[in-house]
């Protein structure tokens, strides 16, 4: 349960950006905030199953590329129509220039 999975290099994500990470048949989105912190959520929008990694990161918001549904990627909170279900978030740690996810 507490295994940390190596996901990518810290430099693989631009500041205020997101990448997709697939693992064990699941898909995740990993974010780097404008303050250079890393976060992770489920990879697919809760409205229709669309990859959030194609969306736009602004401050602490990820905006879905399909219909502009918004989530706070730090908390997973859905921020209004058309999304109403929150995203699940996952613990992230940075070690020796690598980003690790705890996906349980």
């Amino acid at each position: 349960m507490t295994d940390w999975i190596e996901a990518c290099g810290a430099g693989d994500i631009d500041e205020e950006d997101v990448i997709r990470f697939d693992h064990g048949g699941r898909t995740f989105a990993i974010y780097r905030s404008p303050d250079d912190e890393y976060f992770a959520t489920d990879g697919l929008c809760t409205h229709e199953k669309v990859h959030l990694a194609d969306g736009l990161v602004m401050d602490e918001i990820i905006e879905c590329p399909k219909h502009n549904g918004r989530f706070n990627y730090k908390t997973g909170a859905a921020k209004g129509a058309p999304v109403c279900l929150n995203l699940r978030t996952y613990p992230v740690k940075l070690e020796a220039g690598k980003v690790y996810l705890q996906i349980g």
């Binding site: 990859h51 194609d54 905006e63 219909h67 502009n68 129509a81 058309p82």
Partner: protein
């Protein structure tokens, strides 16, 4: 005493407005009147997943029965509002009931334009409602012959979906090309090629002389060609539903005319979504009417707040998307009045056209590509359009220059 809020039209816009009234703290009575039996649901899937999906679709509701109950919204379905008495401030329903209002929102949407020479029947269909989609789906069997009249978005999305179900599809368009309204020629050409690759016959510049349904449908074209089909779907645009507003004496101008705050010519009555025309400040106050899902959402929410006394202007940039096969198209802004266009290629066949006014103001961005390839740049362009920015055209064309950087400038 507060007579309450009444919303006529339980579609995207009316449904969002009802929720927004509660979200912004209103605790009086809310009535949501809908002619359809269904709770508010999303229409975009009706030409997409609802047709293609393996299982018989269920309406994708915006508001579940539970949420309606929790929010204390009175949903009055299968019920038509037939008159507004502005002096008495009430709405009369077809069953004779009268509902008093403090503020009224008209969110009556739009309905498909009818083709007068086609007699509607089980094989001559229009697509607007969930029930329409079910009826069309039932006739789209592998090998069935479908003719779609009108090469607009709904017709083309349906063409793509019908192909996925294995039907033989012909699209008839009266204009010289498909997507004449609001879509740049290069993008329409890409869409056209996509359909041709997928085996759809698109015939442009075709006038229709007659459509007859006597078991099989026979479509006679102006050039005497006769096409036989198992199903004809007519998608020649939509007209705003204004009759109720009109008979109440409200101003009409290509839709129910509202001001920048979505108020009609009666200060107690608002209108929003597909049924209204409104001034768009970013384009010098030009009056437009949109038929777009996000607009219906945004205007529903904004109208709700203004019904509660906020004085908010609608400033959002028009935005639209369409899905056909594995491609998505997105358009932000309106290209009317542009004097030049530049192109940004994103690789993988994805590209964006930016339309600029003579003074350099970015007016619109229209993109198409596989999946969501154009989404980010269109979203960033939308923000530039909102700011009435005048980006350097050479930076727009160079995909090395991130649009996010232009936004920071």
């Amino acid at each position: 005493m507060d007579a309450g809020m009444v919303i006529i039209g339980a579609g995207e816009c009316g449904g969002r407005a009802a929720l927004a009234l509660r979200e912004h703290g209103y605790d009086g009575p809310i009535s949501l009147i809908g002619e359809e039996a269904h709770l508010p649901y999303e229409r975009p899937p009706l030409s997409k997943e609802a047709i293609v999906g393996a299982d018989v679709p269920v309406a994708k509701t915006i508001l579940t029965a539970e949420r309606v109950a929790d929010a204390g919204i009175e949903f009055i379905g299968s019920s038509r509002a037939v008159a507004i008495d502005r002096a008495a401030k009430n709405v009369r329903l077809a069953d004779g009931r009268a509902l008093a209002y403090d503020k009224l929102l008209l969110a009556t949407g739009a309905v498909p334009r009818r083709l007068s020479l086609a007699v509607a029947g089980p094989r001559v269909a229009y697509l607007r409602t969930f029930d329409d989609a079910l009826a069309i789906r039932a006739r789209l069997t592998p090998g069935s012959r479908v003719v779609i009249v009108g090469g607009g978005f709904i017709g083309l999305e349906l063409a793509a979906s019908a192909r996925k179900r294995g039907a033989a599809v012909t699209v008839l368009e009266a204009q010289p090309r498909i997507l004449m309204r609001g879509v740049p020629a290069d993008i329409a050409a890409t869409v056209h090629a996509l359909h041709a690759d997928n085996g759809v016959e698109i015939a442009c510049g075709e006038g229709i002389a007659a459509i007859r349904d006597d078991g099989d449908v026979r479509i006679r074209l102006a050039n005497e060609r006769v096409i036989e089909a198992d199903l004809v779907v007519i998608g020649i645009g939509a007209a705003p539903v204004t009759a109720l507003a009109e008979s109440a004496g409200l101003a009409i101008d290509n839709g129910i005319a509202v001001d920048g705050r979505l108020r009609t010519s009666d200060a107690h009555i608002f209108a929003a979504g597909d049924c209204c025309s409104f001034p768009l400040a970013i384009y010098g106050g030009r009056r437009v009417r949109l038929e777009a899902w996000r607009n219906a959402q945004e205007q529903g929410a904004l109208a709700a707040r203004n019904m509660l006394g906020a004085e908010l202007e609608h400033t959002a940039v028009p935005w639209f998307w369409s899905d056909q096969y594995e491609f998505s198209l997105q358009i932000a802004g309106l290209a009317e009045g542009a004097s030049s266009a530049v192109r940004r290629d994103l690789g993988g066949g994805a590209f964006i056209l930016f339309h600029l006014a003579a003074d350099g103001q970015l007016l619109s961005a229209s993109g198409i590509g596989p999946g969501n390839a154009v989404a980010r740049d269109i979203r960033l362009a939308e923000m530039l359009i909102a700011r009435q920015a005048r980006p350097d055209p050479s930076e727009l064309t160079s995909s090395d220059v991130k649009l996010k950087k232009l936004l920071a400038a």
